[in-house]
Point group: C2
């Protein structure tokens, strides 16, 4: 199992689609079905992204989510913290204080400052967080755009427009609910 | 909850005591009781450290564990990988392949190389692992030694010698098993 959960993967993939959709909101259901991932799972991620000021919810038939700020201003670190909480690399239990020879009261020299093990972990955590903070949604979106042919973005726009039209007409999405 | 488990914390603390004990082996029970932590928990960590070539087990009344190599040659990264396994920061599910407009066969441009999100995560993971590899048991042991007064190490030696003598005499340790 990885340190980061699949929610982070789903969340970042969804946000990349919102970079491309610009002012047109996309619903969490459409985003899930566009990517072949669980709609109920994705629906639980968006309130966290909204609370962190990364997306804005828009009501109505054409409702859904939009980015709340420019993709250049949304880092991987902010997205991960929004979804997972600011999870530390290491949770120091201060076991240095429990040494048998100290009895009930550990001496000052033993408890002063951070535990030396914790200090190393904090440096490693900082290195990781700095790297995650250095990459924005805009960087990654640009790298995907360089790879994808123009017709791909036309196909995506057609797919999402079709979904919105179906919703206006009260049709249920075909991908998940085939006619009986 | 932190990314690294409490096993890592217990493991590194135990290994630091083994730096100080040098050629004298310490049992996992003594190491646990010296630090006021669960002996059964600590007993499960040592076979992993032994398998990774970080400690060597020694049989007998004076048995226990010793470091298997110099503390300068044992990095935090090696200890963490030994205890937790080489746990990745991110486990890419390649959801880019499932895009609804691709149908059954995603095109080459979409599946080539690493997913752009995964690439960022790999950079962050590398930054963290480099930092963890840069710190050895010897570094941290030296920083603890600078803080602690000389009499502390005498107290520790007396405590461990007392435990070994008790074992030779067949006495049970007083800290966990008080006489009835």
């Amino acid at each position: 199992m990885a340190h980061l959960t699949v929610s982070v993967e789903y969340g970042i993939h969804c946000l990349l689609w919102l970079v491309d959709s610009g002012d047109m909101p996309l619903s969490s259901r459409d985003l899930a079905e566009l990517q072949g991932i669980s709609p109920s799972f994705v629906a639980k991620i968006f309130p966290k992204l909204e609370k962190a000021g990364i997306v804005t919810a828009c009501e109505g038939v054409r409702g859904g989510y939009r980015l709340a700020r420019q993709p250049e201003e949304i880092s991987f670190l902010q997205i991960i913290d929004a979804i997972e909480g600011e999870k530390p690399l290491f949770d120091c239990q201060e076991i240095r204080n429990r040494c048998a020879v100290f009895g009930e009261s550990p001496p000052d020299w033993a408890t002063r400052g951070y535990c030396s093990i914790h200090q190393v972990m904090l440096k490693a955590e900082k290195a990781m967080r700095l790297e995650l903070a250095a990459h924005s949604l805009a960087d990654v979106s640009a790298s995907v755009s360089r790879k994808a042919p123009r017709k791909f973005f036309v196909q995506i726009r057609d797919w999402t427009n079709q979904r919105t039209s179906n919703r206006k007409l009260g049709r249920r999405p075909r991908t998940l609910d085939p006619p009986e």
